[in-house]
């Protein structure tokens, strides 16, 4: 499963990361090394082993469906790079 440059470009696209050409080739060599370290685990037999997602096998705790947050719209909008009339602004999506 050797990675190629086009795989790096595709993964970067999936993750929405802009990488320059030099960054891509560096990512290829380093990620290839990391994956070969990771692949050590392929040697161990895990047939019949249940995957473990969480140290205690705990399941998600549920709470009552009630409002717990107060309205902080103005405070939160202040953190955004671009807002107008109480809305987050992004580049035009529809022509």
């Amino acid at each position: 499963m050797a990675l190629e440059l086009k795989d790096i470009a595709y993964i970067a696209h999936l993750a929405r990361l802009q990488l320059g050409a030099a960054e891509q080739s560096e990512a290829l060599s380093r990620i290839t090394n990391i994956l070969s370290m990771i692949d050590q685990m392929q040697a161990v037999d895990t047939a019949g082993v249940e995957p473990l997602a969480h140290g205690f096998d705990a399941s998600q705790r549920l709470r009552d469906d009630v409002v717990t947050e107060t309205n902080q719209r103005d405070l939160l909008l202040k953190l955004a790079p671009s807002v107008d009339q109480g809305l987050f602004l992004v580049p035009k999506v529809l022509e």
Binding site: A12, A15, I38, M41, L52, G55, Q60, P81
Partner: protein, 493 residues
Amino acid sequence: MTSEMTPKMNDALKQGVAELARSLARKDFTSVELTRAYLERIDQHNPELNAYVTVTGEQALAQAQAADQARAAGTAAPYAGIPFAHKDIFCTSGVRTACGSRMLDNFIAPYDATVVEKMRQAGMVMLGKTNMDEFAMGSSNETSWYGPVKNPWNHTLVPGGSSGGSAAAVAAHLCPAATATDTGGSIRQPASFCGLTGIKPTYGRVSRWGMIAFASSLDQAGVLTRSAEDAAILMQMMSGFDPKDSTSVDVPVPDYLATLDQPLKGLRIGLPKQHFAVGLNPEVEKQIRAALSEFEKQGAVLKEISLDNSHLSVSAYYVLAPAEASANLSRYDGVRFGYRCDKPVDLEDMYKRTRGEGFGDEVKRRIMIGTYALSAGYYDAYYIKAQKVRRLIKDDFDRAFREVDVIMGPTSPHTAFPLGSKTKDPVTMYLEDIYTIAVNLAGLPGLSVPAGLVNGLPIGLQIVGRDFSEAQLLNLAHRFQQATDWHTHTPGV
């Protein structure tokens, strides 16, 4: 504001949390005097060490003044007025919370993390926010957008990471204690490299609410201090169930100070043979063996054990942690908060350049590994496989804890390494956490305690216990510190 530090305040800066509480109660000095002394010392040494990224002097003095007034009125909480620092991963209302990243360089947190709120309630005085690896991804504090931190013991060496700023600040007496977080060793390894006591509690023991997420099934908050007693005091403040964190565990918090002195007779200590194998520096091993014999002298019994799958922990971790990170860090999109690239031409360009420019190399690498491991066609081979290995690792610990009460060994295979020596090869950096990572995968509590010096540099003994055995770990570390003086050695700065 330059003034000669009086001998009295000079001495105050050497005191830990427990001692400061007594000094403040006796009115040896006020919290304002103490806070001023710390701010001066930070002014003097931080430009060289780079341990703090933000110093909150004004707020600190206001908190100190409030503590002094409460003390005068007889209403002060026991640890009110004691200064400390927060790792810059905890959201602090009104104060920049950057998590070591350009992405959050302009982020003023709109609320307090639960840990921050608890420390505030206790009257503790926040001096500032400490440097860290970007999004806690690193073992040397060299991935920070704010530059590396220097190890106070030797300024050409790393302090460890990711909680490198917290460790350097405590070791250099720029604060008596600091909060920290640990996803694969980020409290314990810096504790080892800087000669400190560092505890990563059981997963779920301390609320993660308001703690910026890296890998949510592994992240846990703890502290870096200069003694086990101080760690016990702070863990008491920070721990407990929090309905706002859905993975917080509703188990009562025992009185950690009450059991610090318990005798160790009959304690069974397991020594994983894999942690004393090839790769461990022989001088470090010698010191660790000497530390273990101290426990034997106090009545403990040593027993070799095997953690058969421990060699796979780094492999499994570097699938699971990046997978969780790739999901957690998808929130940084340039829309609601944080960095946004200049003049985006369309939405996709905005996402890609915002994230390409806002994240550093290591963070991007881990997001890509995680994205790959979770992508169609690779999910079973990587993600599910790693979760199965995680089960094997957890089973190893369960088996070991049927034979022994705690597990001990070195925290790190060596002492602090030179700045820049491992940044070219991520895999050698990842192997830094070879003894600590399995503990996070299993959710167990772990503690590192200073256990010797090798060529003048500190090393740490790691103690791992069963779920929710923090009281026991603190007890063992405290007993060790009653019998040895390794934790009292400090760098000259």
